[in-house]
Symmetry: C2
Subunit: 291 residues, 2 copies
C-alpha cells in the first residue's frame, strides 16, 4: 500500500507519497491559496498516486474532538478562507480512503518520537520557532489532544528587563511566547531579522531567556523525556547552549535527573531536520490505515 | 479481594482499606515521623487487613521510571529522613502483594477523572493549593510520567504589579507558582493566613491572577478537558469566579471552545472533596492487582 502525506502550512502545502517501508517516493510543494484553488490541486495529486490512506499535519487551530460536529475542520485561523474548511472530511470524501488529521507540530513531534531525536522514548515536546511558535506533545507514544490540542506558543512569560518591547507582538496576548520570541517579534524589536542579527547581539541572550522559560515550564508541566527545538529562528545554532544554560540555572537543581547534565542530550535539534512535519503526516496515514 | 490505599503526606499518612466495589471499609491517620517509626506501623495496619494489592499516592519527588535503579523510591525531598526511602519496594517486600506508586496529586487526578469532577473525560488537571502547590495530570485516562512526573507547582509566573513580595518564598525559584500562591506565601505577604484574609482583600485578586496564569498556561500546554482546583487555600470559594474571569480575560477568545463559557463547568472544585487522594490510591491498587 502507498501512503499520502500532507503538511498543510499557512504559506505552502507539502505533499508526499510514501511506500510501506517509509521511503518517500514523491514530494511536491504548492502555495497555500484559497481552498477553492488549492484543495482541488491537492486532491488531484493524491488521486494520481493511488494511495490507501492519507495523513495530514496542518496549521491550526483544528477541531480534533471526534464528538464535535466540526471534527476534522480548521478553526478560527487568521487565514480567513480556510476558516471552517473541513480538511479531513473533504479529503476523505474526495479520495475514498481513511484520513487522519493532527496539528503540524503534533505530527512533527510524533515523527521525532518514532524516528528522530526522541526515538525509543514514550514522550517528547517538539517546538518550532519561526514566523510563529508552535508546540507538539507526545505522551505515552501519542500526540496530546484533550480539550483541543496544545497551543504552547502562547504561554505567558516573564518579561526580560533588557527587552525594549516586553509586551510582544501577539494580537491576542500581552507577553506571550510567540509575541516575544517568534521571528517577526525579533525583527520588529531590533530592526534585523533572526538571520541577520550577529551572534553576540543581546537579542540572542534575551531570546534564550524566553525559550529557557518555555523549556522550564514545559519540564514542570509535561515532564517530557526530550525537548526538540526547530524552526527558522533556531537555525542559529549558537543559541542552543545559551538556552540550555539558562534552563539549568532556572531549574536550580530542582529536577534531580537533569541536575548533573549540561542538557546537551535533553534540549536538542530535530533528528529529522525539516522533514519531521511530512514524516509525521506519513505516520498519521499509517495509523489511519490501521484503524 | 480487599485493596489497601495509602495517601502519604509530609505531615500525615492516611491509610484505608477498600472492598471490590470501592467502598471504604476502614480508614486511619498517623503522623509522618521518620521511616523507622512510621513505616512499621503502616505495614502492621495493612498486614492485619489481608489486602491483595496496595496503591500509594505519595508526596514527592518520586522516581517513577521503571528502568531506574531507584524506581519506587522518594527523591530529594526536604523531609530528609524520607530521602531515598524505597516506599514501593519496602511495602512490596513487607506485604508480598503488588504495589503501585504515583504522586499524591496524580492519584487525586486519577480519582477525579474516574469518579469525580472529570468523570467520563479522558483528561484533566488537578491542582492543590495549600502549604505547597502540586499538580496531577491525566492524559488518555492515565497519569503523566515521562521524564519523572509533573512538578507543576513551580511554574514561572508574571509578577502582579500590586504584589509587595513578587519574588515569592520558594527556596529554589524566584517568582514560581508555589512561592507566590501557596498558603505560607500569602501569610508571609499579608500577615494573615488564607483562612483569615477578608473576602475583599486585594490578596484574593492577586492570588486569582496567579492561579489564572497557571490555568492559562496549563490550557495551552496540556489542553485538559477539566481543571480541578483544591487544597486549603481554595476552601475560600469566593476566589473561583475571580480565577475564571481572569483566565477568560487572558485567553482573550483564543481557545474558541472556551470563549462562550464563563468557565464555571471548566475550572471547578474537586468532585470527591478531600477524598480524591485516598480514592486515587485505591484506584492505583486496583491497577497493581490487574497487572
Amino acid at each position: 500500500m502507498l501512503y499520502g502525506a500532507l503538511e498543510a502550512g499557512g504559506t505552502k502545502m507539502v505533499l508526499g507519497c510514501y511506500d510501506e517501508n517509509g521511503t518517500l517516493l514523491d514530494r511536491t510543494v504548492m502555495p497555500t491559496e484559497t481552498p477553492a484553488i488549492t484543495f482541488p490541486k491537492m486532491l488531484d495529486y493524491f488521486k494520481d498516486k493511488g494511495i490507501g490512506a492519507l495523513g495530514i499535519g496542518s496549521f491550526g487551530p483544528l477541531c480534533l474532538n471526534p464528538g464535535d460536529p466540526h471534527f476534522g475542520a480548521i478553526g478560527a485561523t487568521p487565514k480567513l478562507p480556510w476558516r471552517g474548511f473541513d480538511l479531513m472530511g473533504e479529503f476523505a470524501r474526495g479520495l475514498g480512503v481513511p484520513v487522519a488529521l493532527d496539528t503540524d507540530v503534533n505530527a512533527a513531534a510524533l515523527a521525532e518520537a518514532q524516528l528522530g531525536a526522541a526515538k525509543g522514548l514514550g514522550s517528547c515536546l517538539y517546538v518550532t520557532i519561526g514566523t510563529g511558535v508552535g508546540g507538539g506533545v507526545i505522551v505515552d507514544g501519542k500526540p496530546i489532544h484533550g480539550l483541543m490540542h496544545p497551543e504552547l506558543g502562547h504561554m505567558l512569560l516573564v518579561p526580560d528587563p533588557r527587552d525594549p518591547m516586553p509586551q510582544g507582538v501577539c494580537p491576542y496576548h500581552k507577553g506571550c511566547l510567540e509575541g516575544l520570541a517568534a521571528g517577526p517579534s525579533m525583527e520588529k524589536r531590533w530592526g534585523l531579522s533572526a538571520k541577520e542579527l550577529p551572534d553576540d547581539h543581546v537579542a540572542w541572550d534575551i531570546e534564550a531567556n524566553y525559550l529557557a522559560q518555555m523549556c522550564f515550564n514545559a519540564i514542570l508541566t509535561l515532564s517530557p523525556e526530550k525537548i526538540i527545538l526547530g524552526g527558522g529562528v533556531l537555525q542559529r545554532k549558537h543559541i542552543f547552549p545559551l538556552i540550555r544554560r539558562k534552563t539549568l540555572s532556572m531549574l536550580n537543581g530542582y529536577i534531580e535527573c537533569l541536575a548533573d547534565s549540561d542538557l546537551s542530550d535533553y534540549i536538542v535539534e530535530p533528528g529529522l531536520d525539516t522533514a519531521s512535519g511530512l514524516t509525521g503526516s506519513y505516520l498519521l496515514a499509517r495509523q489511519a490505515a490501521d484503524n
